[in-house]
């Protein structure tokens, strides 16, 4: 049973997180780099360009990359400090095997031993329980090449259907909605369209903290006179100066969008020519909102009716507009409904396929866009192909040189994999670039599930909290240790260049997977000697698919500072803006309206759990924090989770700033300091989720998923809050450091 071998304290003492504070040799070393590498930030979906400075085999600093057009040198604090993940004392340097007698719970073993153990256990489990009893969980901080490789590795080497990826917790509601309505899962526009919009509507996206560079695009629009509408349960930093703020109650976004469509119809702020020529099913969408008056929506969302009407007027009468949405509306059991009802607003007013017009998700993870296109989603094959479509299967089989029957069918999505592990149906797991112990909902359940595995192998560069459960840990590679491409939230394919090679006995992720495939007797399908060879195969595999990369070459990607897919064929210029001329990607070329009825979230407040909980991120941390909780400057900025609450709620609870409070849901409870601010709805508390164990907000969240996208409801849960006694100083420790000077 894959339970942590020793106590959490012992694991943390040996494997961290410890804090890396300064570049190699210290701040005063005054090193001169021997090379500067143009690459990208390893964190969010914006994939900002950055120059990494390296000396010998160490990254020693960074320099802004002013020429890269997306960010022109701009970086958030995570980007500034990202180089400190290198030369880190916590870096895994050897393969490890669980050994509760060893210091820290793991003993170093040889690669041969580690890989043979993995292969032996996979074979044993599959022989007894069937191939699908071994699952693989992957992540989209990985390059396109590795994402492609993992899709192929799981299907042809592990021969399991059960592969899924951590975008299931991130962008998948947007992807599902986009495919249903528009026939393609990609951002509708390059970000250069944002400054051309007369109305910018940001719905459920804390842009300033999670996509900081996008703020500058919004301001470029405002400098031209654009209006900004922000829809969020909190007055997030971008909202502070917005022209209109829609402070929605968590889980009610589709009611608000529906009421806006009601207003658009009522006032005839519609683009009839566009609707007639380029869409179908408008009448279904219209019928669904007949009763959705602004007063009805106000009662549900808590947004004053006058503001809903104002938003509708601005959106409906502006000649250009961009609606940007993210996890706030997507991480719900109605995530797809919310996305579809947002898209309805774009279609109704003809705001697609023109400069400054679009409705788009802001993809969260580094390669969230590219990673999901090339086959490590449970239902997809490369090029955004459908694993259940016989033609698609036959084509990919021809590229892979296998029999079509060798490609397994559709697997189950990530949350169902965790449920199946808990239920004992899946016995073995290989994970890479995914830390469900922190990022999955209902973390007590997740830990219980991981503990029930018969065998678990984790490929990690730092020992993640999920890795605590592993029988074998295989030391893989950091972003700056491998070469490949990723695809940013804009749909722009960019080039990731290596600055260093993996330290110690750590290996590049793809080398580990190829070695495993070889030992599983499936090496003939994995005869790669470089990631470039994988990209060349990916080009062919994606050709003719929706996500067609066939015209992209590494050389063109670098020379042209990125290429926007689809790029069907050599010499194609790429497609920065989708849907030009009103051409959508369904076979008939038309977009689909969807009738969206409002329904409540899976869990609603009641007398026992009377307060809404919503979760999210802070600017200094990234996702489950495996990297960012190990960088001193970032940890100083926001060291531990705080429970944001409005003074009205705080007063009712008898709580003041810094008081410790216990937050309970039907799944679990946690105790943390209160942060009393007027910038959140009085009926809602907010907790960021980047931390493990007792500090994990996901102890409280709900495993219920969206029926179509299988996205869990991270953004809405019902909780009870009580005082816990005691206080914590919420003073920023760095203020003291700054005046005293850092040692």
């Amino acid at each position: 049973m894959a339970r942590p071998p020793v106590s959490e304290e012992e694991l943390v003492a040996r494997y961290g997180p410890h804090l890396n504070e300064a570049p190699p040799g210290g701040w005063d070393a005054g090193v001169t780099p021997d090379r500067v590498v143009n690459t990208h930030c390893c964190f969010c979906g914006q994939q900002c360009g950055i120059k990494l400075k390296a000396l010998d085999n160490a990254v020693v600093g960074f320099e802004p990359w002013y020429e890269f057009p997306f960010n022109e040198g701009k970086l958030c604090p995570k980007g500034v400090k990202r180089y400190l993940q290198g030369n880190h004392p916590d870096r895994l340097l050897h393969p490890l095997e669980r050994d509760s007698a060893a210091s820290g719970g793991f003993r170093p073993v040889s690669w041969d031993h580690a890989l043979d153990r993995v292969v032996g256990e996979v074979r044993r489990i599959q022989a007894t329980h069937g191939n699908d009893a071994v699952a693989m969980l992957s992540g989209v901080s990985l390059t396109n090449e590795k994402s492609y490789l993992i899709g192929k590795f799981a299907r042809l080497a592990l021969q399991t259907a059960n592969l899924d990826y951590n975008g299931r917790y991130c962008m998948v509601s947007a992807g599902t909605g986009n495919k249903k309505a528009l026939g393609i899962d990609r951002a509708s526009n390059p970000w250069s369209d944002i400054p051309l919009a007369d109305v910018v509507w940001v719905a459920g996206s804390n842009v300033a903290e999670t996509f900081p560079i996008t703020t500058s695009y919004v301001w470029r629009a405002r400098d031209r006179g654009a209006r900004l509408i922000v829809q969020d349960p909190r007055v997030v930093p971008l909202a502070r100066t917005a022209d209109l703020f829609l402070g929605v109650r968590p889980g009610t976004d589709s009611a608000l969008f529906g009421a806006v469509l009601h207003q658009l119809i009522r006032h005839d702020w519609l683009d009839h020519a566009f609707i007639d020529a380029h869409t179908v099913d408008f009448e279904h969408a219209a019928a669904a909102v007949t009763e959705m008056t602004s007063q009805w929506a106000s009662d549900i969302t808590g947004v004053p009716a006058s503001r809903i009407e104002q938003a509708a007027e601005w959106w409906g009468t502006a000649s250009t507009g961009m609606l940007l949405h993210a996890r706030g509306i997507e991480q719900q059991t109605k995530g797809v409904d919310n996305v579809l009802s947002a898209i309805n607003l774009g279609l109704a007013t003809g705001k697609f396929g023109k400069p400054g017009c679009g409705v788009t998700t802001i993809t969260g993870q580094g390669n969230g866009q590219g990673g999901r296109e090339h086959g490590h989603k449970c239902d997809q094959l490369p090029g955004n192909r459908d694993i259940t479509n016989p033609d698609h299967r036959a084509y990919i089989a021809s590229v892979w040189g296998c029999d079509e029957a060798e490609i397994p069918g559709r697997g189950i999505p990530a949350q169902e994999i965790i449920e199946a592990i808990h239920a004992g149906q899946i016995k073995g797991l290989i994970s890479i670039c995914f830390n469900p112990a922190v990022s999955a909902p209902d973390s007590n359940f997740t830990a219980e599930a991981l503990g029930r595995l018969e065998f678990y192998a984790a490929i990690d560069f730092f020992l993640s909290e999920s890795g605590h459960h592993a029988d074998i840990v295989l030391p893989g590679s950091l972003h700056e240790e491998d070469e490949g491409t990723s695809t940013s939230g804009e749909g722009r394919i960019i080039k990731i260049n290596p600055a260093v090679t993996p330290p110690g006995e750590a290996r590049r992720d793809w080398e580990i997977l190829i070695d495993l495939a070889e030992r599983l007797g499936r090496g003939k399908y994995f005869a790669y000697t470089s990631t470039r060879e994988m990209f060349e195969e990916l080009r062919i595999a994606s050709a003719g698919g929706t996500a067609d990369y066939s015209g992209a070459t590494w050389e063109r990607i670098e020379t042209e500072m990125g290429l926007f897919w689809p790029i069907p064929g050599e010499g194609h210029p790429g497609t920065p803006r989708l849907f030009e001329g009103g051409r959508f990607y369904h076979p008939d070329g038309k977009a689909r309206f969807h009738g969206v009825a409002f329904r409540e979230s899976a869990e609603v407040v009641d007398d026992e759990y009377p307060i809404w909980l919503t979760t999210g991120r802070v600017v200094s941390q990234y996702l489950s924090g495996t990297q960012t909780r190990r960088i001193a400057g970032l940890v100083d900025q926001y060291p531990e989770p705080l429970c944001e609450m409005h003074p009205r709620l705080a007063e009712r609870l008898g709580v003041t700033e810094g008081d410790r409070v216990t937050v309970r849901s039907r799944r679990g409870e946690m105790t943390l300091p209160a942060h009393v601010v007027t910038t959140i709805r009085p009926d809602t508390v907010f907790i960021p989720y980047h931390w493990p164990g007792a500090r994990s907000a996901n102890q409280l969240t709900n495993r219920a998923v969206d029926p179509a996208s299988k996205m869990p409801e991270f953004k809405v849960a019902a909780v009870r809050v009580t005082t816990a006694g005691g206080r914590t100083s919420t003073t920023d420790a760095r203020d003291l450091d700054l005046t005293e000077g850092r040692e």
């Binding site: 701040w27 802004p64 040198g73 900081p212 930093p237």
Partner: protein, 207 residues
């Protein structure tokens, strides 16, 4: 892209765009000569009621108060008007400058026994590069470029004359205001956006 002396680039702070991310503070530490010390500030104005934050680089006064009050004559200006950190051999660590600066910029670094402050990244700007903070600032609340670039791409009037009591201070760094005659922008002020006094419509919604 590099600026020449003839371009006469200016530094502009627009507090209304600040998102409080601290990229500037983190990046300041990374400037070659700063060696892990951030020489700028970022403050929450009043987090209980607003996410408004205030990034503060040195304003580089034309006649700097910090230099006026220095008993050791340790604070010098470059020809380009950049007010530098205290000269190490002269600085006596008295913190007169820290107390006197009307903008709260200089920092006394105890372990060095020396005052250090924002030097507009001399090693970068002298080579025509942007300072680190303005290079990375995601919202471009901290901005560096020519007057023409500013006028072509940004809105808001530029202000660099301040009164502190009867002391008039003219700075090299500009701040952005809506209306020059109205004085500095009141970042806590109301009236600009009707929703701001009641973001969640609590009063409107009351029965």
């Amino acid at each position: 892209m590099r600026y020449t002396t003839d371009d006469a680039p200016i530094f502009v702070i627009d507090q209304s765009r600040c998102i409080g991310c601290e990229a500037c503070v983190q990046a300041c530490m990374e400037c070659g000569t700063h060696r892990g010390r951030s020489l700028i500030h970022l403050e929450h104005v009043d987090r209980a009621s607003t996410t408004q934050t205030a990034p503060m680089v040195c304003m580089h006064c034309e006649d700097p108060t910090c230099a006026q009050v220095c008993p050791a004559d340790a604070i010098k200006q470059t020809e380009g008007g950049i007010v530098q950190s205290a000269l190490k051999p002269r600085c006596i660590g008295c913190s007169n400058c820290v107390i006197a600066c009307p903008f709260g910029v200089p920092k006394y670094m105890a372990e060095l026994d020396q005052m250090m402050k924002c030097d507009m990244c001399t090693d970068r700007t002298s080579e025509g590069l942007k300072p680190m903070c303005a290079s990375v600032c995601p919202s471009q609340a901290l901005w560096y470029g020519t007057i023409d670039e500013y006028n072509d791409t940004r809105r808001g009037a530029l202000l660099r004359d301040f009164f502190f009591g009867r002391q008039e201070v003219r700075t090299k760094v500009y701040t952005v205001v809506d209306d020059l005659s109205a004085g500095p922008l009141d970042v806590m002020g109301d009236g600009q956006r009707s929703w701001l006094d009641d973001p969640f419509g609590l009063d409107e919604a009351a029965p």
